[in-house]
């Protein structure tokens, strides 16, 4: 019984760790730029495929299997650089527009990226065979959990702490919060908005691509994974509260664990339960659990 429970909860927490990274990317972009980025799921898919390629390349060089995490994470982070041309080339034209147009611009990105990924990596699912259990399994209250899952959960916690530090303790974090609060005032005080937006969007993109890369040893990369994940990330930010970083942590845990429990208890419920919670939150508390105007 406890064994089952631990298994269910741990797989939920692993999923939550990945969801948090993508949702955190969504939150920083929404908080600062006020754009709900539908393409965050596409960045996640891009990171996943890049991770597959990076690990494949690493396997070819014959390096020690235990270090496969390095090229995986590095590849996932570095491909986040695409956020820069995307922001400069497309998004910057819509900052003054109605949010419908901003949403549709990110929808255009979703469409384009799905096919760009298909063009680059093909349509068949891609996976990194055999690396998932490189670090073995750990015994936890009678259940066996892949150590890789624990590594990802730890990494996600470290990143969450790092983001908290960035936002509250650094000059750039203060600028981000000031911009989120009052863009005109921040600009009047001499903040170069173009640079802030470019940096923030690249940060958000890199969080998404890293999340995608880290999920890869556990599941195969598929071209639809992006549009599927965006609705989960959407549930996370709605439950947690749009723009709130603490909300992303709580929302990711709620969605990850609830989904895992629902799948094991009554599979038909799976995402249905999550969406019903989303609707309940939107109706009873539209700002979410931790929603505020600032991040």
């Amino acid at each position: 019984m406890t064994q089952n429970l631990v298994n269910v909860v741990m797989s939920g927490v692993f999923h939550a760790a990945i969801l948090f990274l993508v949702a955190a990317g969504l939150q920083v972009v929404f908080g600062v730029q006020k754009i709900f980025n539908l393409a965050c799921g596409s960045f996640y898919a891009l990171g996943a495929y890049t991770g597959v390629s990076a690990v494949g390349w690493y396997a070819g060089t014959g390096g020690p299997p235990g270090l496969f995490l390095l090229p995986l994470a590095l590849g996932g982070l570095l491909v986040g650089i695409v956020g820069l041309p995307v922001e400069r080339g497309l998004l910057r034209f819509v900052y003054d527009r109605d949010e419908t147009f901003q949403l549709l611009m990110t929808f255009a990105l979703v469409l384009m990226m799905e096919d760009l990924i298909r063009m680059t990596w093909g349509t068949a699912p891609r996976s990194t065979a055999g690396y998932y259990l490189t670090y073995g399994q750990a015994r936890l209250l009678g259940a066996t959990v892949p150590v890789y899952n624990l590594v990802v959960i730890a990494a996600s916690l470290v990143i969450a702490a790092g983001l908290g530090w960035l936002l509250t303790r650094t000059a750039f974090g203060r600028i981000m919060r000031a911009t989120a609060d009052n863009r005109e005032m921040a600009e009047a005080l001499g903040v170069d908005m173009r640079r802030v937006y470019a940096k923030v969007f690249t940060l958000g993109t890199a969080l998404g691509t890293l999340g995608g890369a880290l999920v890869i040893p556990a599941t195969a990369a598929m071209s639809e994974m992006g549009i599927e994940l965006i609705v989960e990330a959407f549930a996370v930010v709605v439950i947690g509260g749009l723009g709130s970083m603490r909300g992303a942590v709580v929302g990711a845990l709620a969605v990850g664990v609830l989904r895992s429990v629902a799948i094991s208890v009554y599979p038909e419920l799976e995402m249905l339960l999550i969406y019903l919670i989303v609707i309940a939150v939107l109706i009873l508390r539209p700002r979410g659990l931790f929603g505020a105007s600032a991040i």
Binding site: F36, L38, L90, F93, V94, D96, R97, D98, E99, T100, F101, L103, L104, M105, F107, A108, L109, V110, L111, M112, M113, E114, D115, L116, R118, M119, I227, V231, F234, A235, V238, L242, P267, E268, L269, E270, M271, L272, Y275, L276, V278, I279, L282, I283, P286
Partner: protein, 329 residues
């Protein structure tokens, strides 16, 4: 609009309808069949634009109603002896109205991004329901739609393409024309004027005695009915309905079509559906990655032509566009 201009547009419209009516005699069957999803989607989009263009609410879950209508029709042919398309359309309209009344009551209290998110969530609830409740809905395989009878005529012995390119084609066209006439009456009525006031200045509308949420709810329900009727028309041509009809990307494509044609014009969404369907067909036949092309088109429209194709056709910039996009020159 000046009388001369309106006479010109009337002539254009008559020519277009005549062209569509003559198409089965002139064009290859392939293109005639491609008109069927266009006409069904055009009915849906008339409803979407009542919310988007006239009331100022952008739904990101409108594919929900396509799903409701399509599955209502499919369910009737699969589980009952009903084969009449009239009954299917009426059932779809009634179910669409019921679902929209419920969903709308919860959604119309919110505007902008929160309205979009709520409708998206409801759309995904319905999608997951279709996907997971296998026994009722057939899961990811969907349901078969048996060939409906038209106006009491059983046409089961006809070859399939003759049926679709003949009676079904004209039936769809008739539904589209009736839907457009009804919608035209709605947006030109005092009720339509109230919706536009609500869109432009909700506070003023409220102070003039217009109940903003109630009128938004009316618009939502009407829009849901149009969505369900259009959805019910989508099923018979393919003979099958599946959950992807109600997926969120399908809702996104609906908003795309409205924007492509031009949300500020009554016929913009219809033109948008036409261009979307036929361009998609052309692009797919030469290049497998139609989403890349369409994403680029959407980005272009968002940045350079927010009034859509209709905006490019008419030189006058409608007030609606200026209202939505203050930065537009």
């Amino acid at each position: 609009m000046k009388p001369r201009a309106s006479a010109m547009w009337g002539a254009v419209l008559a020519a277009v309808i005549l062209g569509i009516a003559l198409l089965p005699l002139l064009a290859p069957t392939y293109y005639v069949l491609l008109m069927l999803p266009f006409m069904a989607l055009a009915v849906v989009l008339l409803g979407v634009n009542l919310l988007f263009g006239y009331t100022g609410l952008v739904s990101f879950g409108h594919a929900l109603f396509i799903g409701v209508g399509a599955y209502a029709g499919a369910f009737l042919t699969a589980h009952t002896t009903v084969r009449s398309l009239e009954v299917m359309l009426l059932a779809a309209a009634a179910l669409g109205a019921a679902v929209a009344a419920l969903v709308g009551a919860l959604c119309v209290r919110y505007v902008k991004i929160y309205f979009g998110m709520l409708t998206l969530a409801f759309g995904m609830v319905f999608y997951t329901f279709l996907l997971k409740f296998y026994r009722l809905t057939g899961g990811d395989e969907g349901m078969r739609v048996l060939r409906p009878s038209l106006l009491g005529q059983n046409l089961d012995t006809m070859p399939k393409t003759d049926y679709l390119a003949g009676p079904y084609y004209y039936y769809s066209l008739a539904v589209l024309v009736i839907a457009a006439l009804v919608m035209w009456r709605i947006v030109r009525s005092p009720f339509g004027l109230c919706l536009r006031t609500i869109r432009d200045n909700p506070a003023k509308a409220e102070s003039l005695g217009v109940s903003v949420t109630r009128y938004r709810w009316y618009a939502f329900v009407i829009s849901g009915v149009f969505g369900a009727v259009g959805g019910a028309l989508l099923g018979p041509p393919t003979g099958n309905v599946d959950p992807t009809l109600a997926y969120w990307t399908s809702s996104g494509n609906l908003v795309f079509m409205v924007l492509l044609g031009g949300f500020a014009n009554f016929f913009g969404p219809v033109l948008g559906a036409f261009v979307f369907i036929f361009l998609q067909d052309r692009v797919m036949s030469t290049f497998p990655y139609w989403r890349l092309v369409f994403g680029a088109i959407l980005a272009f429209i968002v940045i350079f032509a927010p009034a859509g194709l209709m905006g490019l056709l008419s030189r006058r910039r409608p007030a609606e566009v200026v209202r939505v996009i203050p930065g537009v020159r």
